[in-house]
Structures are given as structure tokens and as C-alpha cells.
């Protein structure tokens, strides 16, 4: 078999441990953000009852993000794009990935993004436990490659690490997710 199949298990282990600890830090960071500078919509609507200092940017001043819908008309997976403005007070990366999850029939409705943190060009996308629902190959490809494509639009994100409730996962079925995956290019207009 080809050289491409040979891998260094020791190096893999080190990367896994390294990214696991990064992921842990990432979750800590995003949780603490939720309590301070990134309030949810309800808090934003009633700032006087909250002891958090809130500023809400009007719709037209906030950055739009590109949301994707899988297009499986052909043999190979493609995406349809749409520009949308994330609601006030939400974290745009997590929201955009969540928007994508909602287009997938194989992903349970309860599954969502708990948080996204970026460190050294690697985004750790942390999912709630419902994401581990069991996938056939094309559904797994649609989930993983969709997230890798959605994340490519954000500055400073070159690769994505998938975690579930803070713990690194190995796979959703066929792909080796033990290492961060390089983002995939957005389809051109």
C-alpha cells in the first residue's frame, strides 16, 4: 500500500492530547463570554433587569454571515449560499453552524453548537451530545464538510476541531476526526 497510509501513532497521540486541552480552554472561554459580553436575546430585550452591561448593535451595522444549505442534486456534494444577519447578541460562528445543522434531516433537532473558540487558527466547534446520532456515509459527509465549509468564511480559521460537550471525538462514522480538519473552500458565486 502507499506511503500515504503510514502514520505516526505517537505524533497523533500528542496532537490529540494537545487539542483536547485547547478544547477545554475554549469551552471555558466561551462560557465566560456568555455571562459577560455576549448576552442572549432575552437579556438584550430587558437590559434593566440584568446586571450585565449590554450594547446591541442595530441589524444593518452587524456583519452578515454566509449560511449554507446542502445541494445533493448531482453525484457530489455542493452547497447553496445565502447571506444572513445573525440575531442581536449571539455569537456569529456558533449561530452560522447552527443554521447549517438545521438544514440536515439526519441531525436531531436538539443538537446544537455549545460554543466556538479559536486558537492558533484552529476553531474548536463544540456540539451538544445529541449530535452523536449515527450517520450513513453521505449524511456524515454532508455534516462534516458543511461545517468545514461554513467555518472557512471566518478570519483566522484554517482548521476545525470537532468536540462534543468539551471532549474530542474520533469520528461521526467514517472520517478520522482525531486531528483538526482543514477548512473547505466556499463555493464561488
Amino acid at each position: 500500500m502507499g506511503i500515504s497510509k503510514n502514520r505516526n501513532a505517537l505524533a497523533l497521540g500528542i496532537i490529540a492530547i494537545g487539542t483536547a486541552s485547547l478544547a477545554g480552554l475554549g469551552i471555558y472561554a466561551s462560557n465566560s463570554k456568555a455571562n459577560t459580553t455576549k448576552p442572549n436575546v432575552e437579556q438584550a430585550a430587558a437590559p434593566q433587569t440584568s446586571n450585565v452591561d449590554v450594547t446591541v448593535t442595530p441589524d444593518d451595522e452587524r456583519d452578515q454571515t454566509t449560511t449554507l444549505t446542502p445541494n445533493l442534486d448531482g453525484e457530489d456534494l455542493k452547497f447553496d449560499k445565502e447571506k444572513k444577519t445573525p440575531p442581536a447578541g449571539v455569537e456569529p460562528m456558533a449561530w452560522t453552524v447552527d443554521q447549517y445543522l438545521r438544514t440536515l434531516t439526519s441531525v436531531p433537532k436538539e443538537a446544537h453548537v455549545l460554543g466556538v473558540s479559536v486558537d492558533n487558527f484552529i476553531a474548536t466547534v463544540d456540539f451538544s451530545k445529541e449530535i452523536e446520532a449515527g450517520y450513513g456515509t453521505t449524511d456524515e459527509q454532508t455534516l462534516v464538510n458543511g461545517v468545514l465549509t461554513v467555518m472557512s468564511q471566518f478570519k483566522d480559521v484554517n482548521a476545525v476541531k470537532f468536540t462534543v460537550e468539551g471532549k474530542p471525538i474520533d469520528t461521526f462514522g467514517n472520517i478520522d476526526l482525531s486531528e483538526p480538519q482543514r477548512v473547505l473552500k466556499m463555493p464561488e458565486d
Partner: protein, 533 residues
């Protein structure tokens, strides 16, 4: 028009609102392909899962349509029937879906195209010759192909749907050339004597046969071959190719060289037509001679033929056994290496690792109460049972509802020095009933994996009653491929038998005898790969 503007206009001009309400009905424009007719990109719409067309389009097919209020009466294909009228967007539309049902036609969506095809229900050899019956008119055309000599009858606009127990002599084969074309192949030296041409569209086709076509030829080879039509020349080829020559022939393979008239910028594309037939295509090139002859100096190649499909020079090799291939260009030479895989010989005494996909915490694909992990285990156990008489020792990566990690599964193959590793899966896709078919994956461009995939997939396609989507590189799914294929160092494939959320595939895969049929095909495919026949 924004909603605010709509409200303004509503106050001013109520009759315009009526017009805009009618416009709101959702008619999605689609294309229609009726059998061999030129596809129509207008006059057709999708509503839910049905296809509706205008009477104008139906009339262009010589259908006689009368609008009778709520119904339309249609005279077509020698039949008279009524379908409901749909009044939408100021148009009178008829359901082509209903019409296709009355006609007994095959009707299906392919993306934004609705395809209606003649269902070919009967193929038989009678005293009058070859008789073929379709529910709707199809257009037959017949021609000859070389290496091996065979006679091809295509039915444009037809879909082969003959009973499983169809009895035809072994030198006759039926199949589907492409989604719109059914094909019958007579592989026989007598094929040379049958005239070629086209005849008018028909529902019943009878081809008189020379007496010899009823008797068996000396040798019968491979399955139905979607080969190219001989004789379409490449216009102004920029590269002229000499005939292939054996540069080196050795115990485990052969090196074939083709000399080109100029330095080559790209390597040729090579694919399997079946495990012992390879097709090489070279764009913008033409062979200086169109021939079909034996490859005398090779232990591994029987014969070759040169031809063209109008855009590429085509070279077809018929090999003595299933061979892996690699190709490279160097200056003005194309070098094609055909070789026996590293695992070869009889199955007796070899290790085969069977990997039932998913398991335990990972259920895999699921639909209508069926779970991938259970179906793959049942099928894998049937493969183990089918391997028992061959004398192979079988290792299952799991034999119950547990989850070994993906690297652990590949490690079992590596540690046991398995002859082959076969991972068994069932697919699922975002929209139910949108895709049907099975495919076998190989890793990246690995030549041995690819050959094994070809051997197994072509055997499965014969028995699974699920459409054949061919062999795929796992790179088409992920840049890194699939974990089990990447990590295993022995020839390895991953089979996707069908889509669990497509009703036809699911019905087949959950049938009682499916596991046994497919298991035998997988074993046969492994034997073809090993040269154990």
C-alpha cells in the same frame, strides 16, 4: 415586490391583488425527457412529487389531448385514459405522473429533470428472432463492437425491467447502458453477419437472427460492456498515437508503451469496464490505425482494440485475469503498467477481515426502524459463512453489537496480514427517496484497492437488485479518505450497499435472502481479485 408595496397596491387596486394571488401558486419549472424525444426545458412543472405539463407539450409528442373540465382525455400509445386537470397560474395542466402510470412507463425525477421511459418487460428468443417488448415506444439502434466481437442493440428511451428469472442463452446479456438507454449484447463471432442500422420507434421489436446466433460461441466473457461506439473520429487531433507495444512482460505483470507524435502534457484517463477489461482514453488524440488484434507477446493481455468516441482516442485491453494498473507519461511516451495484485492465489489458507460498519454506541444510518449497524452485521456474518467452504480464515472486526474504534479495525487487518479487508456499510442521504444505488469505495488512487473494489462491485451489481453507482475513490468524500481504508495496509474496500432511506433500496436490503445473495457476490469478487477461479 416587498410586502409593504403589496399592501399599498391592495388598497388602490383590488383586481391586481387577485392577479398576484394567482401568481403565488408555486409551479417550479422543470425539464421533461419523454423516452427518445428531445428533452423539453419549458411547458413542464413540478408540484410536490408530481410532474405537470401543458397539453401543448403532450401534443408535440403526438398525444391527443381533449380538455373536459376537471379532467383531460388522452389518447397516446394506442391507449385512451383520463387524468385530472390542474388549473394553476392561468394554465391548464395535466399530470404526466398519472399519464406515465396509465402507460406502465418508468417515471422518475433526476434533479430538475423528469424522465419517462418505456419499461422493457420482456426479452426472448423466439422462432422469429429476438423479441423485445416495451410498455411505451422506444427507438432501437444496432451496431457492432470489436474485442470481443459483439453485437449491440440499444433501446433509446428504454429501461430494462425484465423478470429476475429471465432465461436467455449465456451469450446474450441485458442491461442498462445509461439512464435513458437499455442495452442488449450478443457476444458471438456470428455477430459480424448481422446487419446494423436503425429502425423506427416501436413497442415490439423483432430482429431476425442468423441461425448461428442461437448456438453457443466457443468462449463467453465478462458482463455487459458500456463500451464506446466504434468509428466516430476525433476532428483535427493534435496528437497521433502509435499502436500499443509490450515493453516488458514479466511474472507478475506487463508494461505497455504507446508512442505519441508529440510531447504529452497530460496522462491518459483509465477506467475499468469490468475487472478484465480496461479502457484508456486520451483527449485530443487519435490512433493512426483503428484495429482489433491479439497482444501476442504478453502473458497478461489477450487483445486490444483502438477506436475513438469523437473526443478521445480510446484503447481497450482485454486481460487474462483481473489486473491492477498505473499509468504515467514521459516525454512522448505513455507507459501503462498492468500487474497482478500483491495478494493472489487461492483463498484457501488466506486471512480475510470482514468489518461490519458501525456498532454499539454508533448505530450508523437509520430509517423506518432499520439500523445500519444491525444490517451490516447480518450481511457480514453471511459473508463469513459464504467464505467457510473456501478454506479462508475469517476475522470479524466485531461479531456482536459493539463498537471497535476505526483505527482498531484497520489494525486487525494489518496485524493478521490479511489478503483483503472488506468493510460493509449502508448509506443515507439528507432527503429520503432522493438517491438510490450502491457503490464500493477504494482509498485515494490505490491501484490494488481500486481493482478489489471493481471486482466486488461488479459482482454485487449482478445480484443486489439495487442500481449500480460503480466504484468511487474515498477522496470524493473526504480529502483524507475513510479512516479504515487509510489505516489498513492490505488491499481494502468499503462497500455501500444502498441507501437505507430510499424505499426501493431499503425494501431490497431487508429482504430475507439479500444477505446470502450479496455475501456470495462479495466472495466471488474476492476470488476474481485473487485469480482464484
Amino acid at each position: 415586490m416587498t410586502p409593504v408595496m403589496k399592501r399599498w397596491i391592495a388598497c388602490l387596486a383590488p383586481w391586481m391583488v387577485l392577479a398576484s394571488a394567482a401568481n403565488a401558486a408555486k409551479l417550479e419549472p422543470v425539464s421533461v425527457q419523454l423516452t427518445y424525444n428531445t428533452p423539453s426545458a419549458t411547458e413542464a412543472f413540478r408540484v410536490g412529487d408530481q410532474c405537470y405539463i401543458t397539453p401543448k407539450l403532450a401534443k408535440s409528442w403526438d398525444w391527443n389531448v381533449s380538455i373536459l373540465g376537471e379532467e383531460m382525455q388522452i389518447a397516446a400509445e394506442g391507449r385512451l385514459f383520463r387524468v385530472p386537470t390542474l388549473r394553476e397560474d392561468g394554465k391548464f395542466l395535466m399530470s404526466l405522473t398519472d399519464a406515465a402510470r396509465y402507460l406502465g412507463a418508468i417515471a422518475e425525477w433526476d434533479g430538475k429533470t423528469y424522465r419517462v421511459l418505456g419499461r422493457i418487460r420482456n426479452v426472448e428468443i423466439t422462432d422469429a428472432g429476438l423479441q423485445v417488448d416495451s410498455t411505451v415506444k422506444v427507438k432501437p439502434r444496432y451496431f457492432r463492437l470489436a474485442t470481443p466481437d459483439r453485437y449491440i442493440i440499444d433501446f433509446l428511451g428504454g429501461r430494462m425491467d425484465v423478470p429476475e428469472d429471465l432465461t436467455l442463452p449465456a451469450w446474450w446479456r441485458v442491461g442498462q447502458y445509461d439512464p435513458n438507454t437499455a442495452r442488449i449484447v450478443l457476444e458471438h463471432p456470428a455477430a459480424i453477419a448481422i446487419p446494423t442500422g436503425k429502425i423506427d420507434q416501436t413497442r415490439q421489436f423483432i430482429l431476425p437472427l442468423p441461425a448461428i446466433a442461437r448456438t453457443a460461441p466457443d468462449k463467453i466473457t465478462g458482463p455487459i460492456t458500456p463500451a464506446v461506439e466504434v468509428g466516430k473520429k476525433v476532428e483535427n487531433p493534435s496528437i497521433i498515437l502509435a499502436l500499443p507495444e509490450v515493453a516488458n512482460d514479466y511474472n507478475a505483470g506487463t508494461l505497455i508503451s504507446i508512442k505519441a507524435s508529440t510531447k504529452l502534457e497530460q496522462a491518459p484517463a483509465i477506467k475499468y469496464i469490468d475487472p478484465t477489461q480496461l479502457q484508456v482514453s486520451m483527449p485530443k488524440a487519435a490512433f493512426k490505425e483503428m484495429v482489433s488484434r491479439n497482444m501476442g507477446d504478453s502473458r497478461w493481455v489477450n487483445s486490444f482494440s483502438t477506436s475513438s468516441d469523437g473526443a478521445n482516442a480510446i484503447l481497450t485491453f482485454q486481460t487474462k485475469r483481473a489486473l491492477a494498473f498505473s499509468a504515467a507519461t514521459s516525454g512522448n511516451m505513455i507507459n501503462i503498467r498492468l500487474f497482478v495484485p500483491s495478494s493472489s492465489g487461492t483463498l484457501n489458507g488466506k486471512v480475510v477481515v470482514i468489518d461490519p460498519g458501525h456498532g454499539g454506541k454508533d448505530g450508523g444510518a437509520h430509517s423506518n426502524g432499520f439500523s445500519e449497524k444491525n444490517l451490516t452485521l447480518t450481511i457480514s456474518q453471511a459473508v463469513r459463512d459464504a467464505l467457510a467452504p473456501t478454506g479462508a480464515s475469517v476475522i470479524m472486526t466485531r461479531d456482536s453489537d459493539v463498537y471497535p474504534s476505526l483505527p482498531a479495525r484497520a489494525q486487525i487487518a494489518n496485524d493478521s496480514k490479511a489478503a483483503v479487508f472488506v468493510s460493509i456499510h449502508i448509506n443515507s442521504i439528507n432527503k429520503a427517496d432522493s438517491r438510490s444505488g450502491g457503490m464500493t469505495f477504494y482509498h485515494q488512487q490505490d491501484p490494488e484497492d481500486r481493482l478489489l473494489a471493481e471486482c466486488i462491485q461488479s459482482e454485487i451489481a449482478k445480484v443486489s437488485r439495487i442500481p449500480d453507482l460503480g466504484t468511487w475513490s474515498d477522496r470524493r468524500i473526504y480529502q483524507s479518505g475513510f479512516s479504515v481504508l487509510r489505516n489498513s495496509k492490505v488491499p481494502s474496500v468499503l462497500i455501500e450497499l444502498g441507501f437505507i432511506n430510499h424505499k426501493n433500496d431499503r425494501a431490497q436490503m431487508t429482504q430475507k435472502d439479500f444477505a446470502d445473495r450479496v455475501a456470495k457476490a462479495i466472495v466471488k469478487g474476492i476470488q476474481i481479485f485473487l485469480g482464484d477461479q
